[in-house]
């Protein structure tokens, strides 16, 4: 079976090379059959990749420890679900996953456009073929999942790291990969547009939708990872500004900028150069993110040993930057704006500021990540930055961004007069200021940044609420009907705008959750003998003894903490330690989430007294409103879905416009 898999992988490489070459030839000669052949090559490459995936899964399920990926990441006792998902626990296996998503997305994108953008698609195929060739080459020749284990074949494998045996960690890599990989599609479209010198509205639609998919996947992937860190890694937080976390954040920021900036190109024909730069940056950052995750070049809790693919990935990023820069500069005349920016008090300007701030934040994060490498190169000693650095820039760039989230949708195009500004912003500003005063009275003034963030959240929420309310009212004035009907109609007719507003609401929820759980949380550490209690922010916890229980492949030792609040019982917490059969140890925190307020009581077992007296060292945190962070993820997906939902009216209009043209040219 592994022979089949190996051959399949070489076949993928051959097919992607062919696709790239055929794409270039099809583009230059306008040969439709070559184009179809290139498209078919992607489907064939997908099939071959899936054969390779099945081979690896077969080896995993049959415990074939002659393969390094099986021996290093699974064991006989590992539950089947985790055995299957350990495909992406290994570096070579995850490369295979990357390849599967890439060939699949490329085939789909080419298939969707098989009757459109005829001059563009061969070059899209060529670029995608080039990218796929690179990754196929890595998987086939540099870091193959079919590599033999070094030395003798072990009887049992090393087992999966206990902290990875968690549903969130199963879902997080595929989701992130979906995000990283699908960024190739908009990039390929953008490069093809530059190569052919052709951009039109349909190109923009395709690019936008794929970017949206990538962006939604990256966002969801980050939240899944954050949730995993919260429940599994167990320090009480969910985001550590670890380089690998930042690796996903940077392309997400660039994609966010692009998704907004592209609206201006669509409506006003402006910011064309910006958009090309943003989409190239998003893709380059996505591959760079993969490089950070795999190369071990920066210290990270997630980082791997120096992986052989590191230098290749870096070279690929450099090549991508060089080629896209060259193409953009070459086509600068084509990217001239149709209109000028006439006033800084206009929606165009807010989008421009949005771009600048998002890019500034992405750059700040990038700088923080590469700073250790640069400082070592310059001074010989590594200097690292940590949370305070990132928090500073998050606040200083993030708060204005939050403000823009509320200002942008309400401000007029081209030039907003002072009268209209007063009229539209009166209520949001008043609400925000009174809200700020109220929060300050409630004692939340301890953190200026926190108070400002929460006030801006009120501002944005009111603006979004007004948009929905006024829009519904206008719809009813126009077409009658009940309020729910008008609302559904409103959203249906303008999915992008209102889906976007839902996403903005998700951001508001996220900011509230993050602000509350970081600026206003409480931490206590204590040593408790049996029967002793500790108090954290109104909760009383009593040590009710140390116990043991057995799991499928581990023994779990834990302390039972009886919780009470205001004298009445409030359940129990059982933080402890799992000792796996393979000898690995995993700390398991216990969290009690209170649903209405989203506040978490978070307990960590730090040590059990060796004299077996039942005494323990524990650390307990109260994280207010942290549940909102996860809720934000759900709302975020909902908004992205609304925005992505195809609009039949838009499709009809585009088709009709093209149809007019063809009818006229007598084709």
């Amino acid at each position: 079976m592994t022979t089949l898999g190996r051959v399949a992988l070489y076949l993928v490489f051959a097919l992607t090379v062919y696709a790239a070459v055929a794409g270039v030839l099809a583009g230059r000669r306008g040969d439709r059959r070559l184009m179809r052949s290139a498209r078919n090559a992607f489907w064939a490459a997908l099939a071959a990749t899936l054969v390779a995936v099945v081979s690896v899964e077969y080896a995993l399920l049959t415990h074939d420890f002659s393969l390094a990926v099986v021996a290093e990441h699974t064991s006989r006792r590992l539950p089947t679900g985790y055995t299957l998902s350990s495909l992406w626990a290994s570096e070579a296996g995850s490369l295979l996953l990357w390849l599967a998503v890439l060939t699949g997305a490329s085939a789909l994108a080419l298939h969707q456009n098989r009757r459109r953008n005829r001059e563009l698609m061969p070059w899209v195929a060529a670029v995608l073929g080039g990218i796929a060739t690179f990754f196929a080459g890595l998987a086939a020749f540099v870091s193959s999942p079919f590599a033999h284990v070094a030395g003798t074949v072990p009887v049992d494998g090393a087992g999966l790291d206990p902290s990875l045996q968690n549903p969130y960690m199963v879902a997080h890599p595929p989701m992130l990969y979906l995000g990283y990989v699908t960024m190739s599609i908009p990039f390929a479209f953008a490069m093809a547009a530059l190569i052919t010198g052709r951009t039109d509205a349909r190109w923009l639609v395709s690019v936008r939708r794929w970017t949206l998919v990538s962006w939604a996947a990256l966002g969801t992937g980050m939240l899944l990872g954050a949730h995993w860190a919260y429940v599994e890694v167990g320090w009480g937080g969910y985001w550590a500004w670890d380089p690998v976390e930042n690796a996903a954040l940077m392309p997400w920021l660039a994609a966010t900028a692009f998704l907004h900036s592209v609206i201006v190109q669509e409506k006003k024909g402006m910011l064309k150069v910006w958009n090309m730069v943003l989409v190239s940056a998003a893709f380059s950052l996505a591959v760079f993110g993969d490089f950070l995750t795999r190369s071990g070049v920066v210290q990270s809790v997630h980082s791997f040993v120096q992986s052989p693919v590191g230098p290749y990935l870096l070279g690929f990023v450099a090549a991508t930057l060089a080629v896209s820069t060259a193409l953009i500069i070459w086509r600068l005349p084509l990217l001239r704006a149709d209109h000028r920016l006439e006033s800084v008090i206009s929606r165009e300007a807010t989008f421009l500021f949005n771009n600048l701030l998002l890019l500034a934040l992405a750059f700040a994060v990038l700088w923080g990540v590469v700073f250790p490498i640069l400082s070592e190169a310059v001074r010989g000693v590594r200097s690292t930055v940590s949370a305070p650095y990132y928090d500073f820039f998050l606040v200083i760039f993030g708060l204005p961004l939050l403000a823009l989230t509320g200002i942008g949708p309400l401000i007029a195009w081209r030039r907003a007069s002072p009268d209209s500004l007063v009229r539209t912003f009166r209520w949001p500003v008043v609400s925000a200021l009174s809200g700020a005063a109220l929060l300050w009275l409630l004692g939340l003034g301890s953190s200026t940044a926190g108070l400002t963030a929460l006030s801006l959240c009120i501002f944005v929420t009111v603006t979004v609420g007004l948009e929905f309310a006024r829009g519904t009212a206008a719809r009813r004035a126009l077409a009658g009907g009940s309020i729910p009907r008008a609302l559904v109609d409103l959203v249906g007719r303008n999915r992008r705008r209102y889906g976007g507003y839902v996403v903005h609401l998700a951001i508001v929820i996220l900011v509230v959750g993050v602000t509350a759980s970081s600026a206003y949380s409480t931490v206590r550490e204590a040593h408790l003998g049996v029967g002793q209690t500790m108090v954290v922010d109104g909760y009383t916890l009593r040590n009710a003894g140390v116990f043991q229980r057995k799991g499928p492949n581990y023994t779990f030792q834990y302390v039972r903490l009886a919780v009470s609040r205001g004298g009445s019982p409030h359940g129990t917490l059982e933080p402890g330690q799992r000792v796996y059969d393979t000898g690995q140890i995993g700390n398991e925190v216990d969290i009690r989430s209170s649903v209405p307020s989203g506040t978490d009581l978070y307990s960590i077992l730090q040590g059990v007294d060796r004299d077996a007296s039942g005494g323990v060292s524990v650390k307990v945190l109260v994280n207010p409103a942290v549940g909102l962070v996860w809720l934000a993820g759900v709302v975020f997906l909902l908004g992205a879905l609304i925005t992505l939902w195809p609009d039949p009216r838009e499709a009809r209009q585009l088709a009709r416009r093209y149809g007019e043209l063809l009818a006229r040219s007598g084709a």
Partner: protein, 97 residues
């Protein structure tokens, strides 16, 4: 899976890939609308898009008026501007016909 079976399966996979990739060259031409656009067609398409964009902007402007984002005075000034833009585009389109 025996070695022979593996080789056979691998060979089958490779052959399938070759067939799929070569298919467009050996299958009969299917009728599909040719989308080779002349420069003039391209110009017409760009103008059609500009026309539709102007109409969309006018609709957006009306919506902005209804939801109170622009004042009456601003609305009228901008509407006249957009109408002039649309008219100019329509004239050019006519000229090309």
């Amino acid at each position: 899976m025996t070695a022979a079976a593996a080789v056979a399966a691998a060979a089958a996979l490779v052959m399938l890939a070759v067939v799929v990739v070569a298919w467009p060259f050996v299958s009969p031409e299917r009728e599909q609308p040719e989308e080779r656009l002349s420069d003039e067609d391209r110009r017409r398409l760009a103008l059609a898009e500009a026309r539709d964009a102007a109409y969309a902007s006018l609709r957006d402007l009306e919506q902005d008026l209804r939801t109170g984002k622009v004042t009456e005075a601003d609305y009228e000034a901008e509407r006249d501007r957009l109408r002039a833009d649309a008219a100019r585009v329509l004239r050019e389109l006519d000229r090309l016909r």
